[in-house]
């Protein structure tokens, strides 16, 4: 039975370094090396699903439905629709089995708090009344899930997922090699010998930690970042392609380029005008990929 998967991300535009929107949680933020969307793609591909498409939420519902209709016409028999509003370790084979055994046309996944934005649709359900489906929610069956879920509605929730990954409370495993103190450092990262890291923490690919840097409290430094001399990170996530100036003390915050979101004070500050942070050119752009 051929299966297709449509992943709907949120706010991919924020990843674009040319844009200067305020940073709030966005599904393209990586979690210890990979985004939630990339992890979903890995999971569905591991089930030998070849028809996978990732679209941003800003793509209209009718366009998304149209894409599913095209797949259905091409012979895809079931379509898994995954919204990036949550990270849920749903047992996909079990979901497929439930859907098939019950003869359901549409199955929606719920946890005790409500729907998770994950649905499995039969080809017939996609083709029938496709236009009407845009306006109304068709009847569906309910698949109850009790495993690991984090609803990714805020930066705070993002930090929780990061901590759970570093603690091994979910199936997300950081890329790179762990040391004895639960510190994961990508082999391409450059860490000065004087750097102090109290795990669990993560240092991503092509990142550089300069002399005297201190990292602690489930902090993560994603791909292609530079943390300059003597800066300390505590309970912080530094998103890809971010430079942090020397001598800073960053606590309970997420920094994306020049935008800092402080989780205790619930404010976002632009550090660009005071030269405390900067956006680095992404590696792929430098290489022209």
């Amino acid at each position: 039975m051929e299966l297709g998967a449509l992943l709907v991300t949120q706010g991919a535009a924020l990843r674009n370094p040319e844009r200067q929107e305020m940073s709030t949680w966005c599904s393209v933020w990586p979690v210890v090396g990979k985004t939630v969307a990339e992890r979903w793609v890995d999971r569905v591909r591991s089930m030998r699903v070849n028809t996978v498409s990732v679209v941003d939420r800003c793509v209209s519902v009718s366009d998304r439905v149209q894409r599913m209709v095209e797949w259905a016409k091409e012979g895809v028999e079931q379509i898994l629709v995954i919204g990036m509003g949550s990270y849920a370790e749903v047992d996909l084979p079990d979901l497929l089995h439930f859907h098939h055994e019950g003869g359901h046309r549409i199955t929606r996944v719920f946890d005790p708090e409500g729907p998770l934005g994950i649905s499995l649709l039969d080809r017939s359900a996609v083709l029938r009344d496709a236009a009407a489906r845009i306006r109304t929610v068709p009847p569906s069956s309910r698949y109850d899930f009790n495993g690991y879920v984090t609803r990714l509605s805020s930066t705070l929730a993002y930090r929780k997922l990061v901590q759970d990954a570093l603690e091994g409370r979910c199936d997300i495993r950081p890329s790179g090699f762990p040391t004895s103190e639960n510190v994961w450092i990508d082999p391409t990262a450059v860490v000065h010998p004087s750097v102090t890291i109290h795990g669990p923490c993560y240092v991503g690919a092509h990142s550089r930690l300069n002399a005297g840097v201190t990292v602690s409290g489930y902090s993560t430094i994603e791909e292609n970042c530079e943390i300059d001399l003597g800066t300390s990170l505590e309970c912080a996530s530094i998103l890809p392609n971010t430079y942090l100036a020397p001598g800073l003390h960053l606590r309970n915050a997420v920094v994306d380029g020049t935008h800092l979101e402080h989780l205790d004070r619930n404010v976002t500050v632009d550090l660009g005008p005071i030269a405390l942070a900067a956006r680095r050119n992404s590696i792929s752009r430098e290489n022209g990929l």
Partner: protein, 123 residues
């Protein structure tokens, strides 16, 4: 840290050119030079984001006030507070959400505005 001397409430100059900064610091020097263990409260609650010049000026205030064995406090918006914490200025000055919170710690001596109304000002 509490001081037993007078408390002075001031705003930073709106224009932070070299001239305005110099005038401001001269007035600060004059005030703290006359006081023993003064407490200078800088009101940043009405300013938007903090500029690099603001950080430099605050550090110069700290230096002047510490010469008189005093202490600097800053009343700051949450955004400004984040920057002050990030740059570790909170290790040399005290941070408060409002001027009234800052003044609650010691009796208040309000400094009248200077002739050009630039600084220092009453809260």
């Amino acid at each position: 840290m509490k001081t037993s001397g007078p408390t002075i409430v001031t705003h930073l100059p709106a224009k932070q050119s070299k001239l305005h900064r110099g005038l401001f610091l001269d007035e600060i020097k004059e005030m703290v030079g006359q006081a023993r263990r003064p407490r200078l409260i800088v009101d940043l609650t009405s300013s938007g984001g903090i500029k690099a010049e603001t950080i430099d000026l605050l550090l110069e205030c700290v230096e002047e006030v510490e010469h008189a064995d005093g202490r600097v406090a800053v009343a700051a918006t949450p955004e400004a507070a984040v920057v002050l914490e990030l740059t570790q200025l909170t290790s040399v000055l005290d941070l408060f959400p409002s001027v009234s919170d800052a003044t609650d710690e010691t009796p208040l001596m309000v400094q009248p505005p200077s002739a050009d109304g630039m600084s220092p000002m009453a809260a």
